[in-house]
Assembly symmetry: C2
């Protein structure tokens, strides 16, 4: 039997790179796609993968890539992901169109299984504990929906339709909050870590938001396991441990030893932010049988160590 | 101020006709669209409405109708509805395309508010008590979805998108089970009534299905009230009284006086039938403030009387 061949898009990204070790361990030939403009060096996690550079927003380039690699499997992470920008950006519509083109080319080339990265943003505000195929989705109602959630949900339904009509084996991983090395410095966890390591006050919101955080290496590993399985449909990718943002900040501050520098309430909380947004992980843990490598304390220690090296402090 | 003008499609139908008296009572100028092939006589409930005959599956005819009437309001019932056929029919895709054409023409002509008839079939099997904007929908998952549910949900999302982006005021009425005069004779209630009035055994399924039944005149009146309101999004149209199918059949048999002719369990129940399918009616009763005219006993008495006249017995 021919070796299964997976095309991983967004493979240079914060999550995508961490799927590669698990895919290689499962026996896949891994073809990793990097954005043409991505800065060197290539992430170390991609060692062992064949590398491709392609602009997937260019339909011709996407078609060429599929024809060249002829993947049996597709793991699609590439999308706009710039903090503070991605929710409202018009680029969401471009990535939706590009993803449809990619999926169609993959199907035409005889692709057997696809897994695509979705987001907890697809759940309706107020869903609280989010249960796949049960909780309300963000576009079911008269309330405003962000271009990000709208486009991800449109692609999700296309994937389900391809599964029903074209016999594609398909799953959709909904990522909750993640953290870890090389995260964008403006995001919550690196922002607090950097401030505290530099002996500066770390302003936070009130911190009462209940969330679930998973280390990026575990998020990537969960996607690798999902692709290697035959689980169908939406699967939440997150931790089963819920914690308040204040609790998370306190864990970071305790590890660094500077709890007195935390400033809860110094930043305004976004107006429309849900009080509780956590995943039901029965599909991930029970049906897929996957368990994370890092607990929260260990994941934070790994991230703090990475920033100590980065900041040389 | 100019009188509000409503275009009612499917106005000759079992439900559509009963919206017209309520619309006229609310002060609308009513333009009722009948299928070109609909058999005479015109339903008495349409008295007071301007009548149009048009094949809405013909995009040009739909455009002409909108240009001619220039409606401020749209109440869209027309769709394939043949018992035993409509769920799987390819005509669902034709009605979806025709409905999109109609909605776009209505928006271009400056339409202000649209209400479209949806169905309890849009909820996922196993939803049980169906709550708008909370319960899972039929196309959220890897399970098969009927063309009927798929096309109704696609139109529902188009209506929501038009509401968000074009400023259209819009609601979507999800009809649960209905009954009443002139219902197709193969449907549950008329089938049992006819058999019993003709002194024949009335075969039923096991009858343990929990459902909610509303008289067609009340379903139509609820749509008229919904159109006259500014309620947005999905609204269940059904009764707050849940009853088993066996209980309903027993009520019919008791009114006719032939309980000994009921044969529960004589018919096989459909394989994939949900045990419980009932609407949460808090939006209909609480937010819209609408109440039905018929209780279940009164609605059944009205329907039995209609069949006595029809069958002359």
């Amino acid at each position: 039997m021919q070796q299964a061949r997976v095309l991983v898009t967004g493979a240079g990204g914060f999550i995508g790179r961490w799927s590669v070790p698990g895919l290689l361990a499962s026996g896949f030939a891994v073809h990793a796609v990097l954005a043409p403009h991505s800065a060197p060096p290539v992430p170390a996690a991609l060692a062992g993968a064949a590398l491709h550079r392609a602009d997937l927003l260019d339909a011709a380039a996407a078609g060429d890539l599929i024809r060249q690699v002829r993947p049996s499997h597709l793991l699609h992470f590439a999308w706009i992901a710039i903090p503070g920008i991605y929710r409202q950006s018009e680029d969401n519509y471009r990535w939706l169109a590009a993803s449809r083109t990619l999926l169609e080319a993959f199907l035409r080339a005889g692709g057997a299984r696809a897994v695509i990265a979705g987001s907890s943003a697809e759940y309706a505000a107020g869903a609280g504990l989010c249960v796949e195929r049960q909780s309300a989705l963000a576009d079911d109602g008269a309330a405003a929906v962000t271009p990000y959630a709208q486009c991800k949900l449109a692609l999700y339904r296309d994937l389900l339709a391809a599964s029903r009509s074209a016999g594609l084996s398909a799953a959709w991983g909904r990522i909750f909050l993640q953290f870890g090395p090389a995260e964008h410095p403006d995001r919550l966890v690196p922002a607090v870590i950097r401030r505290l390591l530099l002996n500066q006050q770390a302003p936070c919101t009130h911190g009462r938001q209940v969330r679930s955080f998973l280390h990026c290496a575990d998020v990537g590993a969960a996607f690798a396991a999902l692709l290697a399985s035959d689980l169908q449909g939406a699967v939440n990718i997150g931790s089963d441990r819920s914690i308040t943002v204040a609790g998370l900040a306190a864990m970071i501050a305790a590890q660094i030893g500077r709890p007195e520098l935390l400033r809860l309430g110094a930043l305004p909380a976004p107006a429309a932010e849900p009080a509780v947004l956590v995943p039901d992980v029965r599909r991930l843990r029970g049906e897929l049988g996957w368990t994370p490598r890092f607990d929260l304390a260990g994941g934070l220690a790994d991230t703090i160590a990475w920033w100590r090296r980065e900041l040389r402090c």
